[in-house]
Protein backbone atom coordinates (compact mmCIF):
# COMPACT_ATOMS: atom_id res chain seq x y z
CA UNK A 1 0.00 0.00 0.00
CA UNK A 2 1.47 3.32 -0.97
CA UNK A 3 1.38 6.28 1.30
CA UNK A 4 -0.95 9.11 0.41
CA UNK A 5 0.84 11.89 -1.44
CA UNK A 6 1.39 14.83 0.81
CA UNK A 7 3.16 17.22 -1.53
CA UNK A 8 2.89 20.96 -1.19
CA UNK A 9 -0.63 22.15 -1.70
CA UNK A 10 -1.29 24.84 -4.26
CA UNK A 11 -1.79 28.24 -2.68
CA UNK A 12 -5.44 29.12 -2.42
CA UNK A 13 -6.48 31.86 -4.86
CA UNK A 14 -7.54 35.14 -3.43
CA UNK A 15 -11.33 35.55 -3.44
CA UNK A 16 -12.78 37.67 -6.21
CA UNK A 17 -12.91 41.40 -5.68
CA UNK A 18 -16.08 43.36 -6.43
CA UNK A 19 -15.36 46.82 -7.80
CA UNK A 20 -17.15 49.80 -9.24
CA UNK A 21 -16.73 49.95 -13.01
CA UNK A 22 -16.92 52.54 -15.74
CA UNK A 23 -16.80 52.02 -19.48
CA UNK A 24 -13.99 53.31 -21.63
CA UNK A 25 -15.40 55.62 -24.29
CA UNK A 26 -12.60 55.15 -26.81
CA UNK A 27 -14.35 52.35 -28.72
CA UNK A 28 -12.08 49.72 -27.14
CA UNK A 29 -14.92 48.21 -25.11
CA UNK A 30 -12.61 48.40 -22.08
CA UNK A 31 -13.91 48.39 -18.52
CA UNK A 32 -12.12 50.57 -15.98
CA UNK A 33 -12.18 49.21 -12.45
CA UNK A 34 -12.75 51.54 -9.51
CA UNK A 35 -13.29 51.37 -5.76
CA UNK A 36 -13.87 48.11 -3.89
CA UNK A 37 -17.47 47.29 -3.01
CA UNK A 38 -19.28 44.95 -0.67
CA UNK A 39 -21.75 42.61 -2.35
CA UNK A 40 -24.64 44.62 -0.87
CA UNK A 41 -23.25 47.87 -2.29
CA UNK A 42 -22.66 46.19 -5.63
CA UNK A 43 -26.25 44.98 -5.75
CA UNK A 44 -27.50 48.50 -4.94
CA UNK A 45 -25.28 49.86 -7.68
CA UNK A 46 -26.70 47.41 -10.20
CA UNK A 47 -30.23 48.21 -9.15
CA UNK A 48 -29.39 51.87 -9.83
CA UNK A 49 -28.25 51.00 -13.36
CA UNK A 50 -24.51 51.33 -12.75
CA UNK A 51 -21.71 49.00 -13.73
CA UNK A 52 -19.67 46.72 -11.51
CA UNK A 53 -16.79 44.36 -12.30
CA UNK A 54 -15.60 41.19 -10.59
CA UNK A 55 -11.83 40.91 -10.65
CA UNK A 56 -9.68 37.91 -9.81
CA UNK A 57 -7.75 34.96 -11.13
CA UNK A 58 -10.59 32.42 -10.94
CA UNK A 59 -12.81 32.98 -13.95
CA UNK A 60 -15.50 30.56 -12.78
CA UNK A 61 -15.74 32.18 -9.34
CA UNK A 62 -15.86 35.60 -11.00
CA UNK A 63 -18.62 34.52 -13.35
CA UNK A 64 -20.78 32.96 -10.64
CA UNK A 65 -20.43 35.98 -8.37
CA UNK A 66 -21.27 38.36 -11.23
CA UNK A 67 -24.39 36.31 -11.99
CA UNK A 68 -25.36 36.30 -8.31
CA UNK A 69 -25.06 40.09 -8.04
CA UNK A 70 -26.93 40.65 -11.31
CA UNK A 71 -29.75 38.43 -10.06
CA UNK A 72 -30.45 41.01 -7.36
CA UNK A 73 -31.58 43.40 -10.10
CA UNK A 74 -33.71 40.84 -11.97
CA UNK A 75 -33.52 38.11 -14.62
CA UNK A 76 -30.28 38.43 -16.55
CA UNK A 77 -28.78 37.56 -19.89
CA UNK A 78 -25.14 36.54 -20.27
CA UNK A 79 -23.04 38.06 -23.06
CA UNK A 80 -19.59 36.99 -24.09
CA UNK A 81 -17.44 39.24 -26.28
CA UNK A 82 -17.13 39.11 -30.01
CA UNK A 83 -14.14 41.41 -30.05
CA UNK A 84 -14.93 42.69 -33.55
CA UNK A 85 -18.16 44.34 -32.39
CA UNK A 86 -17.69 44.65 -28.64
CA UNK A 87 -14.24 46.25 -28.90
CA UNK A 88 -10.87 44.55 -28.29
CA UNK A 89 -10.85 45.15 -24.51
CA UNK A 90 -14.43 44.09 -23.82
CA UNK A 91 -15.29 41.84 -20.86
CA UNK A 92 -17.98 39.18 -20.59
CA UNK A 93 -20.93 40.41 -18.61
CA UNK A 94 -24.43 39.91 -17.32
CA UNK A 95 -27.13 42.50 -17.90
CA UNK A 96 -30.84 42.75 -17.36
CA UNK A 97 -33.02 40.89 -19.80
CA UNK A 98 -35.51 43.71 -19.52
CA UNK A 99 -34.16 47.23 -18.90
CA UNK A 100 -34.23 49.28 -16.75
CA UNK A 101 -31.99 49.03 -14.92
CA UNK A 102 -29.28 49.55 -17.49
CA UNK A 103 -25.67 48.66 -16.74
CA UNK A 104 -23.70 45.46 -16.47
CA UNK A 105 -22.02 43.04 -14.09
CA UNK A 106 -18.71 42.48 -15.85
CA UNK A 107 -16.20 39.84 -14.87
CA UNK A 108 -12.59 39.03 -15.61
CA UNK A 109 -11.30 35.82 -17.19
CA UNK A 110 -7.80 34.65 -18.03
CA UNK A 111 -8.04 36.42 -21.39
CA UNK A 112 -10.22 39.41 -20.58
CA UNK A 113 -9.07 41.84 -17.90
CA UNK A 114 -10.36 45.15 -16.58
CA UNK A 115 -8.18 48.22 -17.02
Amino acid sequence: MTAARTGPTAPASAPPEIREATRATDGSGGVVKGALLTQARAEARRQAGLDIVICGEEAVANRLLAADIESAAGPWTHHYPNLATTGPRALPHFQQRRKPPAGHSFYETANHKAL
Binding site: T77, H79, N82, T86, A90, R98
Partner: protein
Amino acid sequence: MKYFTPKLFVRLQDVHDEAAIHDWERAARKYASSLTDVLPHLPTSLRQVLKEWPLHDADVLSMTRLKDTLSITLRPELSGELLVLSYTLIEAPTFNRAALPREHCTEQVLWLYDELGFELVSGPPSWLTAADRERGDGRATVCTHRILLSNGWEVALKFRKFKLSRPETFIPSFGPTAGDREEMLTRSA
Protein backbone atom coordinates in the same frame (compact mmCIF):
# COMPACT_ATOMS: atom_id res chain seq x y z
CA MET B 1 -25.05 33.04 -38.15
CA LYS B 2 -22.06 30.85 -38.83
CA TYR B 3 -19.89 31.56 -35.79
CA PHE B 4 -22.02 33.19 -33.08
CA THR B 5 -24.93 30.89 -33.55
CA PRO B 6 -28.21 31.35 -31.66
CA LYS B 7 -27.73 27.84 -30.28
CA LEU B 8 -24.33 28.75 -28.85
CA PHE B 9 -25.75 31.98 -27.41
CA VAL B 10 -28.45 29.97 -25.63
CA ARG B 11 -25.81 27.60 -24.22
CA LEU B 12 -23.98 30.64 -22.78
CA GLN B 13 -27.01 31.35 -20.60
CA ASP B 14 -26.10 28.32 -18.48
CA VAL B 15 -23.34 29.77 -16.29
CA HIS B 16 -22.10 26.26 -15.50
CA ASP B 17 -21.58 25.31 -19.16
CA GLU B 18 -17.80 25.65 -19.41
CA ALA B 19 -17.79 24.02 -22.85
CA ALA B 20 -20.05 26.78 -24.17
CA ILE B 21 -17.53 29.41 -23.14
CA HIS B 22 -14.68 27.51 -24.78
CA ASP B 23 -16.77 27.05 -27.92
CA TRP B 24 -17.62 30.77 -27.94
CA GLU B 25 -13.98 31.77 -27.59
CA ARG B 26 -13.04 29.39 -30.39
CA ALA B 27 -15.79 30.87 -32.57
CA ALA B 28 -14.57 34.39 -31.79
CA ARG B 29 -11.01 33.45 -32.83
CA LYS B 30 -12.26 31.87 -36.06
CA TYR B 31 -14.41 34.89 -36.85
CA ALA B 32 -11.55 37.30 -36.15
CA SER B 33 -9.41 35.28 -38.53
CA SER B 34 -12.08 35.32 -41.25
CA LEU B 35 -12.59 39.05 -40.77
CA THR B 36 -8.97 39.65 -41.76
CA ASP B 37 -9.84 38.32 -45.21
CA VAL B 38 -13.18 40.13 -45.33
CA LEU B 39 -12.07 43.63 -44.28
CA PRO B 40 -10.41 44.65 -47.57
CA HIS B 41 -13.68 43.95 -49.39
CA LEU B 42 -15.85 46.07 -47.08
CA PRO B 43 -16.85 49.63 -47.91
CA THR B 44 -14.68 52.18 -46.10
CA SER B 45 -17.60 53.52 -44.07
CA LEU B 46 -18.41 50.02 -42.77
CA ARG B 47 -14.80 49.56 -41.73
CA GLN B 48 -15.15 52.88 -39.92
CA VAL B 49 -18.16 51.54 -38.00
CA LEU B 50 -16.19 48.47 -36.95
CA LYS B 51 -13.30 50.59 -35.78
CA GLU B 52 -15.13 53.35 -33.95
CA TRP B 53 -18.49 52.07 -32.71
CA PRO B 54 -18.88 48.83 -30.79
CA LEU B 55 -22.41 47.90 -31.86
CA HIS B 56 -22.95 45.18 -29.27
CA ASP B 57 -25.91 46.16 -27.06
CA ALA B 58 -26.80 49.13 -29.27
CA ASP B 59 -30.52 49.94 -29.19
CA VAL B 60 -32.09 49.09 -32.54
CA LEU B 61 -34.59 51.92 -32.94
CA SER B 62 -35.84 51.15 -36.43
CA MET B 63 -35.27 48.93 -39.43
CA THR B 64 -36.89 50.14 -42.65
CA ARG B 65 -36.71 49.36 -46.32
CA LEU B 66 -37.36 51.63 -49.27
CA LYS B 67 -36.88 49.95 -52.66
CA ASP B 68 -33.39 48.43 -52.54
CA THR B 69 -32.18 50.37 -49.48
CA LEU B 70 -32.47 48.89 -46.02
CA SER B 71 -31.78 51.30 -43.15
CA ILE B 72 -31.11 50.44 -39.52
CA THR B 73 -31.15 53.22 -36.94
CA LEU B 74 -29.08 52.45 -33.88
CA ARG B 75 -28.12 54.13 -30.69
CA PRO B 76 -24.76 52.69 -29.57
CA GLU B 77 -24.68 51.92 -25.87
CA LEU B 78 -22.21 54.59 -24.82
CA SER B 79 -23.35 57.26 -27.21
CA GLY B 80 -25.96 59.97 -27.21
CA GLU B 81 -25.98 60.06 -30.99
CA LEU B 82 -27.73 57.91 -33.52
CA LEU B 83 -26.15 55.93 -36.31
CA VAL B 84 -28.06 55.11 -39.46
CA LEU B 85 -26.65 52.16 -41.38
CA SER B 86 -27.93 52.12 -44.98
CA TYR B 87 -27.35 49.09 -47.18
CA THR B 88 -27.95 48.98 -50.93
CA LEU B 89 -29.27 45.43 -51.21
CA ILE B 90 -28.84 43.11 -54.16
CA GLU B 91 -31.68 40.88 -53.00
CA ALA B 92 -34.46 40.94 -50.42
CA PRO B 93 -33.31 40.68 -46.81
CA THR B 94 -34.08 37.44 -45.02
CA PHE B 95 -35.48 37.31 -41.51
CA ASN B 96 -35.56 34.36 -39.19
CA ARG B 97 -37.96 35.64 -36.54
CA ALA B 98 -37.50 32.61 -34.31
CA ALA B 99 -33.73 32.32 -34.12
CA LEU B 100 -33.80 32.41 -30.31
CA PRO B 101 -36.22 30.56 -28.06
CA ARG B 102 -38.89 32.86 -26.66
CA GLU B 103 -37.51 32.71 -23.11
CA HIS B 104 -34.25 34.24 -24.35
CA CYS B 105 -35.87 37.08 -26.32
CA THR B 106 -36.33 40.65 -25.08
CA GLU B 107 -38.96 43.24 -25.95
CA GLN B 108 -36.38 46.00 -26.24
CA VAL B 109 -34.41 45.23 -29.39
CA LEU B 110 -30.64 45.24 -28.92
CA TRP B 111 -27.91 44.42 -31.39
CA LEU B 112 -26.31 41.24 -30.04
CA TYR B 113 -23.80 39.84 -32.50
CA ASP B 114 -23.06 40.17 -36.18
CA GLU B 115 -20.90 38.59 -38.85
CA LEU B 116 -19.59 40.22 -42.01
CA GLY B 117 -18.53 38.39 -45.13
CA PHE B 118 -18.27 38.70 -48.89
CA GLU B 119 -19.20 36.68 -51.95
CA LEU B 120 -18.47 36.84 -55.65
CA VAL B 121 -21.69 36.84 -57.67
CA SER B 122 -22.86 37.32 -61.23
CA GLY B 123 -24.33 40.76 -61.74
CA PRO B 124 -24.61 43.70 -64.10
CA PRO B 125 -21.43 45.60 -65.03
CA SER B 126 -22.50 48.49 -62.79
CA TRP B 127 -21.89 46.29 -59.75
CA LEU B 128 -18.24 45.66 -60.61
CA THR B 129 -15.61 47.33 -58.47
CA ALA B 130 -12.15 48.24 -59.75
CA ALA B 131 -10.84 45.04 -58.15
CA ASP B 132 -13.56 42.99 -59.88
CA ARG B 133 -12.66 44.49 -63.26
CA GLU B 134 -9.00 43.79 -62.63
CA ARG B 135 -9.78 40.16 -61.78
CA GLY B 136 -11.64 39.96 -65.08
CA ASP B 137 -13.98 37.03 -64.40
CA GLY B 138 -17.12 39.16 -64.70
CA ARG B 139 -18.18 38.50 -61.13
CA ALA B 140 -18.95 41.25 -58.65
CA THR B 141 -17.92 41.41 -54.99
CA VAL B 142 -20.90 41.76 -52.68
CA CYS B 143 -20.87 41.91 -48.91
CA THR B 144 -22.98 39.99 -46.42
CA HIS B 145 -24.06 41.02 -42.95
CA ARG B 146 -25.78 38.62 -40.59
CA ILE B 147 -27.13 40.16 -37.42
CA LEU B 148 -28.55 38.50 -34.32
CA LEU B 149 -30.95 40.74 -32.40
CA SER B 150 -32.13 40.34 -28.82
CA ASN B 151 -35.76 40.03 -29.90
CA GLY B 152 -34.76 36.68 -31.36
CA TRP B 153 -34.46 37.75 -34.98
CA GLU B 154 -31.60 36.81 -37.25
CA VAL B 155 -31.32 39.20 -40.20
CA ALA B 156 -29.28 38.40 -43.30
CA LEU B 157 -28.35 41.14 -45.76
CA LYS B 158 -26.53 40.94 -49.07
CA PHE B 159 -25.45 44.33 -50.32
CA ARG B 160 -23.10 46.15 -52.67
CA LYS B 161 -23.01 49.60 -51.09
CA PHE B 162 -23.10 50.88 -47.55
CA LYS B 163 -23.56 54.34 -46.12
CA LEU B 164 -23.17 55.56 -42.55
CA SER B 165 -25.07 58.65 -41.38
CA ARG B 166 -24.93 60.36 -38.01
CA PRO B 167 -27.93 62.69 -37.93
CA GLU B 168 -28.30 65.39 -35.31
CA THR B 169 -31.04 64.05 -33.03
CA PHE B 170 -33.73 66.07 -31.24
CA ILE B 171 -36.34 63.36 -30.71
CA PRO B 172 -36.10 60.88 -29.12
CA SER B 173 -34.35 62.49 -26.20
CA PHE B 174 -32.44 59.94 -24.22
CA GLY B 175 -32.60 59.14 -20.50
CA PRO B 176 -30.06 59.74 -17.78
CA THR B 177 -26.44 58.93 -18.51
CA ALA B 178 -24.30 56.68 -16.31
CA GLY B 179 -22.90 59.87 -14.77
CA ASP B 180 -26.40 61.06 -13.85
CA ARG B 181 -27.22 57.67 -12.30
CA GLU B 182 -23.97 57.75 -10.30
CA GLU B 183 -24.94 61.13 -8.90
CA MET B 184 -28.43 59.88 -8.00
CA LEU B 185 -26.95 56.85 -6.18
CA THR B 186 -24.54 59.09 -4.26
CA ARG B 187 -27.37 61.40 -3.24
CA SER B 188 -29.53 58.50 -2.05
CA ALA B 189 -26.72 56.84 -0.02
